[in-house]
Amino acid sequence: MNLEWHGHEEVGTSKAQLWAFISDPKSVADCVPDLVEAVVEDATHFDAIVSVGVGPVRGKFKLKIELEPQSDGNRMNMKISGGGLGSTVDLLAGADLTDHGATTSLDWTGTATMRGKIASLAGRVIDAQAQRVITTTFANVKARCASSSA
């Protein structure tokens, strides 16, 4: 099952502050909703355990997350892979940063491939649920980045 999402956040910080925030695995991990545990491995990698409740598929997913900062400082990619409960998820997210001085635009996209029970048993609701997760993650980025900069 292939899914796509996109969205936009206007973050009330400078581009440099936002870049610093999303380059920090710990900060990004804290923005993931339903996070149970996160272990930072290095500057661009962390492992996360998240609670999943989609239709009849309920439990925990173990995910490996890799941040891929682009050299120009205008784009951050993120690869998420893992799964559990007889399911696997491969997600590619990307965020483009546009500098407006005191604020920064964050335009994000996400594409995911779901396999296994989560796609079969929860296919009807997975799109909305996954969109909620990714939307909430970027909304959290906006809120926490702004508050950490205040």
Binding site: M1, G86, T113, M114, G116, A119, S120, G123
Partner: protein, 785 residues
């Protein structure tokens, strides 16, 4: 053979009477005995571990955690089955083999990977959750068009390293192509009959009971073909057939789904043999929908040529068949594409050609005859959609195009260009009856008025011909076993009796209709004839009930066995009445001395004499008959659907549906009506609701009734039914079979009606199921253009 209304009930002893179903008393009272009602002492339970992924190497199966769960006794894998030579078993027709449990890799999502044996059903389920299977995922192949590229191989185990299974063709290719090319008008449309599932309300299951003392394996199982299953079990296990006892108890619907052999049966038998305990396995709904035999999944390119005035010149149908991971289609051995050659339908094509290529994909295997003779529904859908598309291209009324091209009554027996010899029919009369009854002209007038107002109303016709009753042994067999069927009748001294057949009812009402056939032949009370099926130790050998073959084959065997009983009774009657045998005749359901109407004796009296005063005749009154039909039978019908489509929501309302069926002689009109209601409801579901769809990653998206919808009385339209009667000339009682006609004929009527409604928008085809969203999207696309 004259066309008449349905035969009157009056004047017949039992045949044609709307007798209430004898079996319903126990079903209504909750006294049916289904597979899950069977509980044996010291019984254990089996549950199955399924694959999460559609195509993956199995790198590890860890049983340890499962075996630590209290009550879990064993975890069976393919390695264990290999030890007893049962890792693989032959498929239905014997051309392929299939894994019982996954061997090395999984080939479709939900494939059986391991089986857990435990002391309770709950412990078995816990054990399933605790078995850890590690996979290395592979690219799945999810459609036959990708499969044919062979970029990813589904079956490395086969000698031929290709996903292509077979090519089949019949007819005259060159002549057909030339005729179409030379035609004034041509249509060429791809139609897809989606993968769907019989979804019987009772899923599959079994209780396997090996008796270590006698060496007898008793298999209580949801089997539509108990004798065939006994033979298959013997062949694959080496257990002598006399040591295998298959009992098929009451079955809650089969529709072809309970013909194949499934992993649960095999694993339960092995577990019982090893443990010496009875083993029960009962499927869940998800297991039934995701692993057992699916139906259809044919993509058909339909080409028809015609003259300007609407006379057809040629038909060509090219099909891509998706068979899933194994070639397990339930077709007779010599007919890999079943009876698809019926695709010329009710029409007199001068020339025709059809070809089919079947492919392996990473989907569940199957291809069962879901409430139809083998692949007849697909063929009927292709031709009935094709005729409507042709009518559209010609600018003619679809009823007129059909009338112009029907096989005429005086052409029967009619040799079709694809090899069948149709036995009887009067298609013009049946369609005319339908048109008159539905008020076709008035409906077309109403439609014109509505179109002028921008409203979408459609009228869809389907005038299908089935081919059923497999079959003549010269052509039809399953792994060499000829497709005859059998009946045994034993009349007791008091005139009651027991009737046994090689068939197995799953709701068809055999306990009533079989009794009516025998009662009609013998002048006995059908209420006092006990019908027994499904026990291989007592019933005569038969190939079972599927593909609408019971009445055409076993029904004939019953009549013939009864006639043997009657002939013996005539000898006893001659003795009793002290008359020469040649002077004894069967008149008005009694034996009578010729020319002496007062000198008669009833069958009930003869039954008593058979045991008390048989004279020079062998005592007793019983007979057996194995019937090998000389030809197939060809039921047909004319169905008309009337729909209104809401162009703002895409919702279709089926306002009317009229089904005129001709199934030859009717045994019980009430049961026929019930069969038609059930089949039409299934056809409605297929047309508007149901599809076993897979996404591009091979995920099965309809694994339960939340997604795979079953219509209730709230969604189902009101069904109007009627009949014509052209008896089969070669069947002993003229019956043709009817249970599957409504499922065969109705999908095209529904789709033709919706396409007729949408035709002002230029929409020619939408593939089933015609969900609101699909219809709405098509309307949006068309109006945007």
């Amino acid at each position: 053979m004259s066309t008449t209304e349905a035969p009157p009930a009056n004047g017949r002893h039992s045949m044609g009477q709307p007798m209430k179903r004898k079996e319903d008393a126990r079903f209504i009272a909750g006294k049916g005995r289904y597979i899950d009602d069977i509980v044996l002492p010291n019984m254990l339970y089996l549950a199955i571990v399924h694959s999460d992924y559609p195509h993956a190497k199995i790198t590890k199966i860890d049983k340890d955690a499962a075996l630590k769960i209290p009550g879990v006794l064993a975890v069976i894998t393919a390695d264990d089955l290999a030890g007893v030579g049962l890792a693989w078993i032959p498929t239905f027709h014997g051309y392929d083999k299939q894994m019982v449990l996954a061997v090395g890799k999984v080939l479709y999502q939900y494939q059986e990977v391991a089986a857990v044996v435990a002391t309770s059903r709950a412990a078995a389920a816990d054990g399933v959750e605790a078995v850890v299977v590690e996979y290395e995922q592979l690219t799945p192949v999810v459609d036959p068009f990708t499969a044919k590229t062979d970029k990813t191989l589904v079956r490395e185990d086969r000698e031929n390293k290709t996903n292509h299974i077979y090519h089949w063709e019949v007819g005259k290719r060159a002549e057909t192509d030339a005729a179409i090319a030379a035609s004034d008008v041509k249509i060429n449309e791809r139609v897809y009959f989606q993968r769907c599932h019989p979804a019987p309300l009772e899923p599959c299951g079994c209780v396997a009971d090996m008796n270590p003392a006698t060496g007898t394996l008793t298999l209580y199982m949801t089997s539509q073909a108990p004798h065939a299953h006994r033979t298959v079990v013997s062949l694959v296990t080496g257990i002598p057939e006399d040591k295998i006892h298959v009992i098929s108890p009451d079955i809650g619907g089969g529709f072809g789904n309970k013909v194949p052999v499934y992993a649960g049966y095999v694993c339960s038998a092995v577990a019982s043999i090893v443990t010496g305990h009875p083993i029960k396995w009962i499927e869940t709904r998800t297991e039934n929908l995701t692993t057992t035999g699916f139906a259809r999944d044919y993509t058909m390119d339909v080409e028809i040529g015609a003259t300007k005035d609407g006379k057809v010149t040629a038909l060509k149908v090219t099909t891509h068949a998706d068979h899933g991971a194994f070639d397990a289609a339930a077709d007779p051995t010599k007919y890999p594409a079943g009876m698809f050659g019926i695709c010329t339908g009710s029409y007199d094509f001068p020339v025709a050609f059809t070809e089919l290529d079947a492919y392996f994909t990473n989907k569940a295997p199957g291809g069962v005859a879901y409430r139809c003779s083998f692949r007849v529904t697909e063929a009927s859908y292709a031709i009935e959609r094709g005729m409507d598309l042709l009518a559209n291209a010609l600018g003619m009324d679809p009823a007129d195009v059909r009338m112009k091209n029907f096989v005429r009554k005086d052409q029967f027996p009619y040799p079709s260009p694809l090899g069948f010899v149709y036995d009887s029919g009067d298609y013009h009369t049946t369609l005319q009856k339908a048109l008159d009854k539905v008020g076709y002209k008035e409906l077309r007038k109403e439609q014109a008025e509505k179109r002028a107002r921008g409203e979408l109303m459609g009228i869809g016709i389907s005038t299908f011909t089935e081919v059923v009753g497999a079959g003549p042994s010269k052509h039809f067999d399953i792994m060499g076993i000829k497709m005859f069927d059998s009946a045994e009748i034993r009349i007791h001294p008091t005139g009651s009796g027991i009737v046994r057949a090689g068939t197995k009812s799953q709701g068809q009402g055999h306990e009533t209709t079989w009794a009516q056939i025998v009662a009609e032949e013998l002048g006995l009370d059908p209420q006092n004839l006990l019908v027994e099926e499904g026990d291989t130790d007592t019933a005569p050998y038969g190939l079972g009930t599927y593909a609408s073959r019971s009445t055409p084959v076993a029904g004939a065997a019953l009549a013939m066995a009864a006639r043997r009983v009657r002939e013996k009774a005539r000898n006893i009657a001659a003795h009793v009445m002290e008359a020469p045998l040649d002077d004894v005749e069967w008149v008005d359901y009694k034996f009578q001395v010729k020319g002496v109407p007062s000198k008669t004796v009833t069958m009930k009296e003869i039954a008593f004499a058979a045991y008390t005063n048989p004279g020079p005749n062998e005592p007793g009154l019983e007979a057996t008959y194995y019937y090998d039909p000389p030809n197939l039978t060809f039921p047909y019908g004319a169905y008309i659907a009337v729909v209104d489509v809401d162009k703002d929501t895409g919702e279709t309302k089926v306002r009317r549906f009229l089904a005129i069926d001709d199934c030859g002689t009717v045994i019980n009109p009430m049961i026929v009506e019930g069969q038609i209601h059930g089949g039409l409801t299934e056809g409605f579901a297929i047309a508007f609701m149901q599809e076993i769809a897979y996404d591009a990653e091979g995920n099965n998206l309809q694994p339960n009734f939340t997604e795979y919808l079953i219509p209730t009385s709230l969604e189902s339209p009101h069904w109007e039914t009627d009949s014509t009667c052209n008896p089969s000339p070669h069947h002993p009682i003229g019956a043709k079979g009817v249970g599957e006609s409504p499922n065969v004929g109705s999908p095209a009527a529904f789709v033709n009606a919706v396409m007729d409604a949408l035709s002002p928008l230029g929409i020619k085809n939408i593939d089933m199921p015609l969900t609101r969203s699909k219809v709405w999207s098509a309307i949006q696309e068309a109006t945007k253009a």
